[in-house]
């Protein structure tokens, strides 16, 4: 059984990157107690400890098991359609007049987003742990759809918790989940968004933990979720790195990804952490303004605190109560962020910035009209910032955008926001 006993003396290997006295980011994180530097850890009720330990154990076994990797790779290839293309957006690049823009097309995955990379991995672990039921939370509904898909594929019953506000603004995904046999439970408490969906899923898990696995959809939550979800999503960055070497003959100059909980960004950035020539830029939801309650940018405006089982940047008041946040996109409308992002922020490996609602909505047209791609509103945040950054770069430089999801799900909401007919 693995241990998270932090009283155990730490073995310091002078050659290991994690004992490097400088603050440069290491790929050898988290440690045995789930810490990325000071961030992460495990702040949950005792009831969940055994299940989390079991998950650590099963995940460590699976990682080293070639059969597990082979089964997952096969699924990712034949069921999801991986590798996803790295597409040179030539018209957009020409229009912006700066760096060459490349799109890592996670939107072309089965179910239309990167979320499926993680749910298939965790569904396989569910079976290995002999658990018979799956629960999940969802914001934009992409993780809910990906969970419903994985569960339908493996014949597992699936319950998805979704904030009532998100059920409203992401209707197409709610319908898809139900079509695949998942039960969608709208959450009416609190702000009725992703944060409340996580709370409700955690509460379900408190009672059902002995036979249920909770497929957390982002790099958040108690150890080992931030590590495990990052690893499953790292297929994005690994492929992208190879594709860059093949297509460009070198690494890109910059990579931009949107950050809510931060799973597509973590999966994209992680394989590039030690390639210090590559600028990594994470884009949070800037909402309507900089005042608390108007945005969902904990890395930009928040401070470290505890939420949903880990220690990370969070939007909290002085009493430690979670603040309300706002974003036009349900998938980014979250007051916390994965602990590894906090680690990358403090080690300065990744630059974090934010993009306002209106900038994100505007950038939807940029790709729709010039490249024929409808982009998820979440991803539009990365797109908008990337467009600004590309303009400051030269034509022989290369910028990759993690195109984390497709925009069909947002068509109705976009029409409503623009006052157009749907």
């Amino acid at each position: 059984m693995s241990t998270i006993d932090s009283t155990a003396p730490k073995i310091v290997d002078p050659k290991s990157p994690s004992s490097n006295p400088t603050t440069s980011a290491s790929m050898q994180v988290p440690d045995a107690s789930g810490r990325f530097g000071e961030f992460g850890g495990r702040y949950v009720p005792e009831t969940l400890t055994r299940a989390l330990e079991e998950l650590v154990e099963e995940y460590q076994k699976a990682r080293k098991d070639p059969d597990f990797q082979a089964e997952l790779d096969e699924l990712l290839h034949r069921f999801v359609g991986r590798p996803s293309p790295l597409y040179h957006a030539k018209r957009l690049s020409g229009l912006l007049g700066g760096a060459q823009i490349w799109l890592k097309r996670e939107d072309l995955n089965h179910t239309g987003a990167h979320k499926i990379n993680n749910t298939l991995g965790q569904a396989l672990l569910t079976l290995r742990m002999k658990k018979t039921r799956v629960i999940a939370e969802t914001g934009a509904g992409q993780h809910g759809v990906a969970s419903a898909t994985a569960c339908a594929h493996f014949g597992l019953p699936c319950v998805v918790y979704m904030g009532a506000e998100d059920v409203r603004r992401q209707k197409p995904n709610v319908f898809s989940m139900r079509l695949m046999g998942a039960e969608v439970r709208p959450v009416e408490s609190g702000s009725k968004t992703l944060r409340d969906a996580v709370n409700e899923a955690m509460r379900d898990w408190m009672s059902s933990v002995e036979h249920t696995h909770y497929i957390i959809g982002s790099v958040i939550g108690p150890h080992p979720f931030p590590q495990m979800v990052r690893d499953f999503q790292s297929v994005i960055g690994k492929e992208c790195r190879e594709q860059c070497l093949t297509s460009l003959g070198r690494l890109p100059d910059a990579i931009v990804a949107c950050v809510g909980g931060g799973s597509n960004a973590a999966g994209m950035f992680y394989p590039f952490v030690q390639d210090t020539s590559v600028r990594l830029i994470g884009v949070e939801a800037g909402g309507r303004g900089q005042q608390s309650g108007e945005h969902a940018s904990p890395l930009t405006y928040g401070s470290p605190g505890v939420l949903h089982g880990s220690y990370s940047y969070v939007m909290q008041d002085n009493d430690g109560q979670t603040s309300d946040v706002h974003s036009i996109s349900a998938g980014l409308d979250y007051p916390g962020v994965g602990p590894e992002h906090s680690y990358w922020k403090d080690t300065k490996r990744v630059e974090y910035t934010s993009c306002r609602d209106d900038e994100a909505i505007e950038s939807f047209d940029l790709l729709a009209r010039n490249e024929g791609i409808l982009t998820a509103l979440e991803t539009c945040h990365a797109l908008a910032k990337a467009a600004q950054i590309a303009k400051t770069m030269s034509r022989d430089q290369h910028l990759v955008i993690c195109l984390s999801g497709r925009g069909d799900k947002d068509a109705a909401e976009l029409a409503r926001l623009r006052g157009q007919e749907w």
Binding site: I4, P45, E46, R50, R203, M206, S207, G320
Partner: protein, 269 residues
Amino acid sequence: MTAIDELFQRLKGSGKKAFMPFITAGDPNMAFTSKVLRRLEALGCSMAEVGFPYSDPIADGPVIQASYTRALGNKLKLQQIFDEIQSDRSERKMPLVAMVSYAIIHRQGQEGFIQAAKQAGFSGVIVPDLLVEESQTLSQLCRKHDFNLVQLVTPTTPPERALRIAEASSGFLYFVSVTGITGERTELPPDLVDRVGWIKERTSLPICIGFGISKPEHVKLLAPVCDGLIVGSAIVRCLEKAGESQEQALQSAEHLIASLLAALEPAKG
């Protein structure tokens, strides 16, 4: 030695068991909380657990969660809890233990929180989302300030880990009766009595059972194997209508507590 330690020493001497109601601070306001605490003491409750409302509780069921939402909806601040609890401190003999999510403690700074809570009149704290592995610092600080850090054992805790938790706990050991969140249950797990008995033989720390307890039958069944019982949701449910009629809410809570205390009587040696 804290007031909680003294209480259990006294009860042990007389063969009695502790009865510990849980109430939510500031539901609907702190003046009412003070009033409830006075009535609980008058009824003969041994101590009280005061829940600090938190925006994102994971271990709490709908009843307690709703009480947190009401309190926070009325803009309850941490300082108001401390101030109001402190104002009655000299008249109160009944020890108080705070139930606080770690997010709140972390934001105040661990030592700052302990000092403020102790000064207000709390004798210890239960942190439902701080595992034994993450609790060393807080545990040391609590010892330094003669303040109890009550740790929890649950049905999913393996036996050897339960003993480790009991060793790290102070004041008493909180034995969670069910795998799940807080809230009344009709039935308690059939092996509960045995599991409590097992750990009781292996620790000198008082053991209090909580979660799901709401009926005199539960009290009669469990009192003989433990040192105290905690009742939360059933009481919070009685008090939830306090916004409409405080007196009516108090009376229904008193009625319930009196019936549970009566069920505890035969166990009083």
